[in-house]
Symmetry: C2
Subunit: 433 residues, 2 copies
């Protein structure tokens, strides 16, 4: 199959240079014949987005994702140098993103804050993704996936999520005038339920094992566009979604003027890990950075399908996660994108314990950045390597994904008891901690 | 008293042009003699901040606030034109702010989003303040007030708050390495309690009437610097705090290239209302804008001390608020700053009902911006004027102060019931809403 030019549309604020979709999967004949150089990656037109993964290379056990390709040579030479003069949000980077048909909410543009409690060569920075429109990194993805839904003329979007992803999809769908269905688990926290419904989403709580089948049914019978994963055989996610995460790399480069040595990413399905890595490979292609950072996946030790896949040398793995408070990155199924990012960048797949994440969350909060426990997995990963005496290539960037309000166990802590205002000695004891 | 130059310090990232404090209160002799032109405003050195209000003009019934004055003539001519090239956060505007001794969290820089459901001449924009470090506008103030605490060498900061203000003070104090005590009411919501403690603050829940006396005791006995109001006779708040809100005006100007016709602000003590107004008067002083927007205070109809003061033609009023869900702006005591902003700008003091705020909150959320109910008071105010046939001078900016997670009644709504995934007709009914 050959590449196909993107359909131009007057709704696109700036022309996208997206040209088509390209499989990340190795062609079957190359995989079957060891020693044979892999052939060219299968290519497909840009539309429709291949939400079920690559139809050529996927197997019964692995759904290989596709990625978006661009007419890279057509980018204006001063594109990155002039970024600051363009409007904020994904618009700023539109040529290197799929077409932005859905209206934006000024997603991205989050700050890079110094983490001074962790002194490493070159410095450690926290990319605070809680500063997004729905207070998590997921907005970068959903601007793109909801745009895909508008692009295919879908009646609505559907997402399986009990947290950040669902709320973000609901917000972008609302702004675009699309319906949104969020398939949640039956134990969805009340605050998340309220969050989803505020944007007008239809919440569909079902037992966990029924989530993906119901999502598929809403796609097939109601014509909704899936903006989360559709495939049971490993994770492919949305074909366009990870492109939205490339903007994290662009922003880090714009702020630091270079590529960091390492980037530590709280990792569930590995979509952000891949997107950030891809963004840096693009900057390297244009000669703007002289290296691509080592990408470190930071998964909960209770699960860790990406680490399992890397260990076993396979494209994706299934695991049976134990209990963890890091519900936002608690996944049983991995995907190939994360493996590519870790392998190609010379990074690593780290497993961090709940205790390590809780300690990192407290460290961040005492520096003024309060994230949910999973958001601190990146800082937990750096600390783990540093403690083990491993070299960490600096400067280091840790992505902090979301605000502390999202934690499920937020209200499990006993409330502070009243103090007697007349008892100064008692007040003083409290002040001393 | 004459002006005194600010003490320069190597800790200040960019030199502040602050020269002293100037009373907003009318000198007593002018007030006593109707028809007499008021004399020059009393002036004081920049340090220490006059947290108890103006010691010359205040009376038993009104504590007049002071404001910070600057060596305006010393500002580089291209200061506003080159803003985008300077680091984000209050650093960008340091010369026109009190000295920034406390480290920042990249406060401000929030987006201006079009509100397309409310078509008025010139357009309506929402300034989404939930995109701040602790997800409310209060971060703009606390960067400045915690800097004042560092500047005076205080042992810590103390704040009376059961919400955004306290959490923001706690975050900035933590980053600056200062202790923080938050005097809350005994019915502080558990999520807010957790929010405050995450940053390491000492939470002191006491009965409402004991809040200010206890705050004063912590100031006097423990040497903590007060970053919220200290005066029982009307509200003065912190002397430096409202300066932080001026950056909202600078940002609106930077984005729109002009001054809007009107700005609608959810209003409690009127500190933000005053700060935004003052920022525009500075832009007008430099000839960058040809008008100062009409400033509209939007208070809960259940209370409204500012509207009461404007109606009665007095500097500040006390009211007995009824019940309202807009707890963040539910005040019994007003302050003179808000009266100045409304009067000098030719704006108005509006009272919006809980139903109007709830409708505006839903309107905002359906456009992808989920705020707490008080955050929607600005949009509720515009709608009220438009519905009443009043002219609203455009372009219009409504400040949305904080995220929907902060609402007290968030969990009062019954949770969504589970759906039977096998019953497609039932799922379809839910999808149709």
């Amino acid at each position: 199959m050959t590449s196909s030019p993107a359909t131009p549309s007057p709704a696109t604020p700036t022309a996208s240079l997206a040209t088509g979709q390209r499989s990340l999967g190795v062609p079957a004949d190359a995989a079957d014949a060891p020693g044979t150089a892999p052939g060219p990656a299968p290519r497909f037109p840009l539309w429709p987005p291949l939400t079920g993964g690559c139809p050529v290379t996927s197997t019964d056990s692995v759904a290989y994702p596709v990625e978006v390709d661009y007419a890279y040579d057509e980018l204006p030479a001063d594109f990155f140098a002039t970024a600051g003069s363009r409007p904020r949000g994904h618009e700023r980077w539109a040529p290197l993103l799929p077409p932005l048909y859905a209206p934006g909410l000024a997603e991205g543009g989050t700050p890079l804050l110094p983490l001074e409690t962790l002194p490493l060569e070159g410095g450690v920075w926290v990319k605070d993704e809680s500063r997004n429109p729905t207070w998590s990194h997921k907005d970068r993805l959903n601007r793109v996936t909801v745009s895909a839904a508008v692009g295919v003329g879908a009646a609505g979007v559907v997402v399986a999520s009990s947290g950040n992803h669902g709320a973000s999809a609901a917000a972008y769908a609302a702004r675009a005038g699309l319906r949104c269905a969020v398939v949640t688990s039956v134990d969805v926290p009340p605050a998340v339920d309220a969050f989803l419904r505020a944007y007008g989403a239809t919440v569909l709580p079902v037992p966990t094992e029924e989530r993906w089948p119901l999502l598929r049914r809403v796609v097939e019978r109601a014509g909704y566009h899936p903006v989360s994963n559709l495939t049971p055989a490993a994770h492919t996610g949305h074909a366009f979604g990870p492109e939205g995460y490339k903007t994290i790399a662009y922003e880090i480069f714009a702020e630091l003027g270079l590529a960091p040595g390492s980037v530590f990413v709280p990792t569930g399905y590995g979509e952000m890990l891949f997107g950030v890595w891809k963004g840096f490979t693009e900057l390297a292609r244009y000669g703007l950075v002289d290296r691509v950072p080592r990408m470190y996946a930071c998964e909960p030790a209770a699960g860790g399908p990406l680490a399992a896949a890397v260990r076993a040398g396979v494209p994706a793995a299934h695991v049976s996660p134990g209990p963890t408070a890091a519900y936002a990155i608690d996944c049983a199924v991995g995907g190939y994108r994360g493996v590519v990012a870790v392998r190609e960048s010379g990074g690593g797949a780290l497993l961090v314990s709940d205790a390590e994440m809780a300690a990192a969350r407290d460290e961040l909060a005492r520096g003024g950045v309060w994230g949910e426990v999973s958001a601190a997995a990146g800082v937990a990963g750096v600390r783990q390597l540093a403690r083990g005496g491993w070299a960490v290539e600096g400067p280091v960037v840790c992505v902090s994904t979301s605000s502390g309000f999202k934690d499920r166990d937020l209200l499990a802590v006993p409330a502070t008891g009243a103090v007697d205002p007349g008892d100064w000695a008692g007040v003083e004891r409290r002040l001393r901690g």
